[in-house]
Subunit: 375 residues, 2 copies
């Protein structure tokens, strides 16, 4: 075992579970949300601020860090934790998603993927082995196998062939690893076909990874499809290993993901929406630019205990945002991440107390109340 | 007396003095540097961070706040301190400098100045009376009279006529004030003509303001001219009242200003240069983008005690800056403001200990050492 995952409590009415994931550098209580630190920084935040919000594990992007500053510089500076001064844990993705969404002119073959950097057009060839070497070079805490993430609209035939390639790549990643102390997760793809999701999960589980990521969701499908895919995929995964839903999602997605047995989440939504002026609250969304907030003395959420809500009015936040002041992006990011991390903490607490069903009901109850812009 | 300014110590070999300025909301030790909070925020910083760096008084721009969000919103929210959650002191400028540098199509007459907003072209007419009403509406701690700040290149005749108008406007500001608890400073102009500076200072002093700002410097003139103007202007100002050098300057300017009897400074240089990737250190400038820093494990300044220098390498700062990450602007701003505020604290300490001359010598000694990009 490269990671020790223990189930602490389960919800009898759903697949939700409370767990403890023990890694070499520390322990993570699950279900957990991982703020996204794409370029070795969770945008706008210091590490101390992240810790203050309760973040214990963040995600960093292998594709971005490979291109800039490069693994050599990160290694020279003592690994990604020291480079960015983050005392918590780090999961690195494989770069697969970015290669297929950001990079230009990619060409896939059995060996790997040739692509051009979105930054400067330089050509790079990444293989499963290289992607593992990069993540081991970053010295992060959880590694992910290279996968192909097909677009939402590809054919069933493409999904089947892509899944087979992703499986062969996953085996090569397993062979290539040299650090047995770092858990390696496989990525389950399979598009929106329940049968291919099941088969892909079974095939990956047969290889025996340390955890399983569910990829290829939140790529344009509707919420019902996403939940249906989780409903068929999770039961194929080992009960005693962590499950990570990649790149998802809204507060509702987190609650529904937990109910369906997911342990780990990451998403740019709270941080990206903050920089676009959207606050996420228990009552829904607040678009801070709206004129209705121009002279409002109210905080984003009167019952929120975050730094932003306890000190700043909507009027001030709106002023900063309209004036394009960096403090606006900071304050909204703090609020959104606080809300996400508190939401996860509340789910963990409800699981510990055997009240997850009640929690889920109350969560939807609040969102039907007024006070936000998503009316 | 609307402000109580006390001299605590003086340097026998220069005009430098250590002082204490007591205002209704608090005390400021001088010489002091005021970070610039143009739009009701010192760019990138929270109030707590500013306080942590030792900032006690900041400057806010009347022109900017008048245009956006407007004085009504700030009043509704309880004044500028509460609006921006700043527990320290605030000096507001008159808006004059911005009207003459940022606004479009301005037309000056005896009554005031008509201009178009640089934001949306809307026409506004500001008078001395309106500028005082705005600052009293913001409820800030030190107010400045409306002045005309002529360009560096205007004729001597223009400077004389402009100075006479600025004097008449200052008298009207004095008449217009309703809050006797808020010190009102006049602005001494006079271009680069020593005689006009002297006469302008004498005329303003004859009116009896609570303090005197020296405007129209750092507008393109060289350092020697700037210092020569201070040498002729300061001796005309009352010894027992605060002197404020507007919009100046470099670390050298601060030291030379203090030596010439200036008590208060503001400048965008430490904050603006930070966002442009330039760190200011005791040894000179560090341009963080330079390739030489790409894998450097060193901090910006090994002996600096700021948050940034005690935690982050030049390699990481360069990565963040090249990747245009907001954290880069934050970390460089923290360092630069820490350096400026420490520099002022060191000058105050040297004055208290009767060692200002030694301090000044050591300051220039360090700047001739290596290690920075200004070689």
């Amino acid at each position: 075992m490269n990671s020790d995952y223990q189930i602490v409590a389960t919800d009898p009415a759903s697949r939700a579970r409370l767990g403890k994931l023990t890694l070499a550098r520390g322990v993570v209580e699950t279900p957990v949300f991982m703020p996204v630190g794409t370029q070795a920084t969770v945008k706008t935040m210091t590490p101390e601020e992240l810790q203050g919000l309760g973040a214990r594990i963040i995600l960093a992007n292998t594709y971005h860090l490979f291109l800039r500053p490069g693994v050599e510089i990160i290694q020279t500076l003592g690994g990604l934790h020291r480079f960015m001064n983050w005392p918590g844990l780090i999961l690195t993705d494989s770069g697969g998603f970015q290669i297929f969404s950001l990079a230009k002119l990619r060409t896939l073959n059995e060996e790997g993927v040739l692509f051009r950097s979105h930054l400067n057009g330089a050509a790079h060839f990444l293989t499963p082995e290289k992607v593992i070497a990069l993540q081991e070079g970053f010295d992060t805490d959880i590694l992910i196998c290279l996968d192909e993430c097909p677009a939402h609209v590809v054919s069933e035939d493409y999904v089947v062939r892509s899944g087979a390639l992703t499986l062969r790549w996953a085996k090569r990643c397993q062979q290539a690893r040299t650090r047995e102390d770092k858990p390696l997760f496989a990525v389950v793809q399979g598009g929106m076909w329940p049968q291919h999701r099941r088969e892909q999960a079974q095939a990956m589980v047969a290889e025996g990874f340390d955890g399983y990521a569910i990829g290829g969701l939140s790529v344009g499908e509707d919420k019902e499809t996403r939940e249906a895919i989780l409903d068929v995929t999770v039961p194929e995964l080992p009960v005693d290993q962590p499950r990570y839903l990649m790149g998802v999602g809204t507060p509702e997605d987190l609650v529904e993901g937990v109910a369906r047995g997911v342990d780990m989440f990451d998403c740019v939504l709270p941080t990206r929406n903050a920089r676009n002026g959207m606050a996420l609250t228990r009552f829904g969304r607040v678009v801070i630019k709206n004129a209705e907030h121009a002279s409002s003395p109210l905080p984003l959420d009167e019952d929120c205990g975050c730094y932003t809500c306890s000190r700043y009015s909507r009027a001030y936040l709106r002023h900063l945002f309209v004036a394009r002041e960096i403090l606006a992006y900071r304050l909204l990011t703090i609020h959104n991440l606080f809300y996400y991390l508190e939401l996860m903490a509340a789910m963990r607490q409800s699981l510990a107390q055997g009240r997850f069903g009640e929690f889920r009901q109350a969560f939807y109850g609040q969102r039907h109340d007024g006070g936000a812009d998503n009316g």
